[in-house]
Subunit: 151 residues, 2 copies
Amino acid sequence: MKVKIRKAKKSDFESVLNLIVELAKFEKLDPPDEKAKKRLYKDTFGKRLSFRILVAQADNEIIGYAFYFFTYSSFLSRKTLYLEDIFITQSKRNLGAGKLFMRRLVKIAKKQKCGRMEWAVLDWNKNAIEFYDKLGAKQLKDWIYYRINFH
Amino acid sequence: MKVKIRKAKKSDFESVLNLIVELAKFEKLDPPDEKAKKRLYKDTFGKRLSFRILVAQADNEIIGYAFYFFTYSSFLSRKTLYLEDIFITQSKRNLGAGKLFMRRLVKIAKKQKCGRMEWAVLDWNKNAIEFYDKLGAKQLKDWIYYRINFH
């Protein structure tokens, strides 16, 4: 089965939403509720594009998605490509979609003159960690991340 | 000495740049080089605003800055206020500028309907960690952060 990486279209929205829910369940985190799904639709196809979505297509099926946006490093004075989500549906692993996503994202980051590409992984997700280590990515071990939740 | 938090103006650029260099030295990281400083000026006052800068002013001096932008959570379908840098010059600590910055940032995040506010701190920066813990912020302990550098 040949996998193709491309920008998400409006007609992919339901498939991407299903994958987001599958990823949230896999990560044991809260998936988007109905209101959040509506906000996401608006934010995806609204005037102000604050993120981008790529999909992996195999035959006519959407088997994975990557959700990213650009942040900024004040020290480098360059954009960073931040990969918020990357997910391939459980039954379609080992088709190489993950590698294709990462290759495309690196290409996009370089084209956009980013200084870096960054992302986070849950510490129990051994398969993903092995995958990222093989890519040659470096763990940011000396930083502690903080969050305040408003909702 | 009364501290005022306000948006950075063009005339603050040199002061902010000096603080960025001071922060980089404090964090034992590479400060922006001359080319990076020029890029930063362009990106700060260019057409596409990809980040925002607040400054803390005491008397007529800029004593600190906060550098932030908005990211996005696909699960919440809400923006996140991401605080890239917050720094108060060494000689002007204990005037309350840090608290004033955080209070202002929380206000901005809520006004922008963000679901979260996030930032990172170096693990040896005990004073900052104590400050953030007191604020009631939560450490994201189960996430590993990855980076690929392009430059």
